[in-house]
Subunit: 309 residues, 2 copies
Amino acid sequence: MLPTAEDVVEAGARIAGRVRQTPLLTLAADTAAGVPLVLKLEQLQHTGSFKPRGAFNTLLAAKVGSEGVICASGGNHGIAVAYAARELGVPAEVFVPLSSSPVKVKLLRALGAKVRQVGSVYAEALAAMTERQASTGALEVHAYDQPAVIAGQGTLFAEWLQQDPQLDTVVVAVGGGGLLGGALAAIGDRVRLVAVEPHRAPTLASALDAGEPVDVEVSGLAADSLGARRIGRLAFELARARGVVSLTVGDDEIRAAQHWLWSHARIVTEPGGAAAVAAVLGGHYRTRPGERIGVLICGANADLASLAA
Amino acid sequence: MLPTAEDVVEAGARIAGRVRQTPLLTLAADTAAGVPLVLKLEQLQHTGSFKPRGAFNTLLAAKVGSEGVICASGGNHGIAVAYAARELGVPAEVFVPLSSSPVKVKLLRALGAKVRQVGSVYAEALAAMTERQASTGALEVHAYDQPAVIAGQGTLFAEWLQQDPQLDTVVVAVGGGGLLGGALAAIGDRVRLVAVEPHRAPTLASALDAGEPVDVEVSGLAADSLGARRIGRLAFELARARGVVSLTVGDDEIRAAQHWLWSHARIVTEPGGAAAVAAVLGGHYRTRPGERIGVLICGANADLASLAA
């Protein structure tokens, strides 16, 4: 079953009080967009990314007990699952690939999760997690391809449209598709969704070309947050039904967007968190005059030293 | 003449479109405050601090021409004056002490200002600027003790109360008193103002003790933003009339607040920008049950490398 707007509303009620309402910041029309940009500052969410929305929704819907939860993650999903598990008083076991940034692994450990570093990319950590789950019986929280996770991420967009009902377009980075699926479930037909992927992790673009989810080679600056090997089935079905187009951005554009956000608005982002802004600054999305465009800042689990000038 | 609420309203109309409306973020009641904290994220303002509000108001009210503007600053005021001057197409000359952080001096130069590094603290840069101004005739923009500057800073509080009319209390860091004076002019009697100063730059506390502005020794972590040698006369008169009390915080508490803001909400601050939060986290301000408390994040011109864990 594909997640629906009703699922998102139910998720919103379920996770109320567990997640922050994150604010908007409007920047002037002096970028390639030619119109003001309404930034949604979701990097200010608990754990530094949007991921607690899906994690809390999944854990609360399943009423997980002492068997605890288990997941595989590039980093941010695992941190969110560990955070939600700690808040709800249940154990968490998290598999991450060796490509996860040291910053993220450190955050995971600080939250008290059992951390397993396996494989070089997310897909390998996922395989190891699946095997382990069969022996422990812990609740699996998929990083993106699970209805409760997608409905939870959708609450971000329901919240955003409540804050700014006039939005015409939202620009969103895509990895495995949890956020994308949530957006498509939440926003209805009036609002246009623009998906953005790194050149070096084009899961959605490749799937749309092939007519179905396919494996892609994953590398580059944002691999630890947008580096799923293939788009989730649920998000793909939602995206195909809605005719979503994927724009791709280069690592140099992502890096430039990170520095632009810091120098223009003192906003820190990780590479994946700046990808949507990169597409706008790079002129990859052509706005119409008067279009009200929202751009999601989705994560900030960066090494601050790497951003220092 | 002391700045009034009417002056703040006029300033707001004058600078509209030149400054950003900065957002609020509400954090949960799990700190020493025991109530939720409504953070005003003014570090997201142009140039990374609240200072453009006063700078634009002064430049626009004076209709400055080709003679340009001149100021002395610990750093942030100079950056704001340079930014406003560039936006309005007039030249700027800025005197900063050698204690200004390299990050701030770099930002100043990037904005095209003539930068003069003179003296070890702000007061010495101010003396050099006054001498220079007599020969150039440029418009002086004082960092805090000037009615148009104070009225401009007051727009921050008028905006804040419009965003959150239920605020009972605002907690604000104090250096020379421009922000303090603006707050007192703007907020009226219903809202309580709590002033926060570093132990090592207690200009307001010392003036209230002495019954008039007096020189203090200035040092410590936040000296480059809160390191005026004495409180401005205008802010002092406003503070005395309203019975404002100053709380002081240690450098260790300021540093802890910077790290707390990053680890809990991915907010970057400079030391002075975190001082108000430090007072709340340190339990120096005793909240009443149900009190709605706002805490101002006033600056983020930090060296990111210094915040890296």
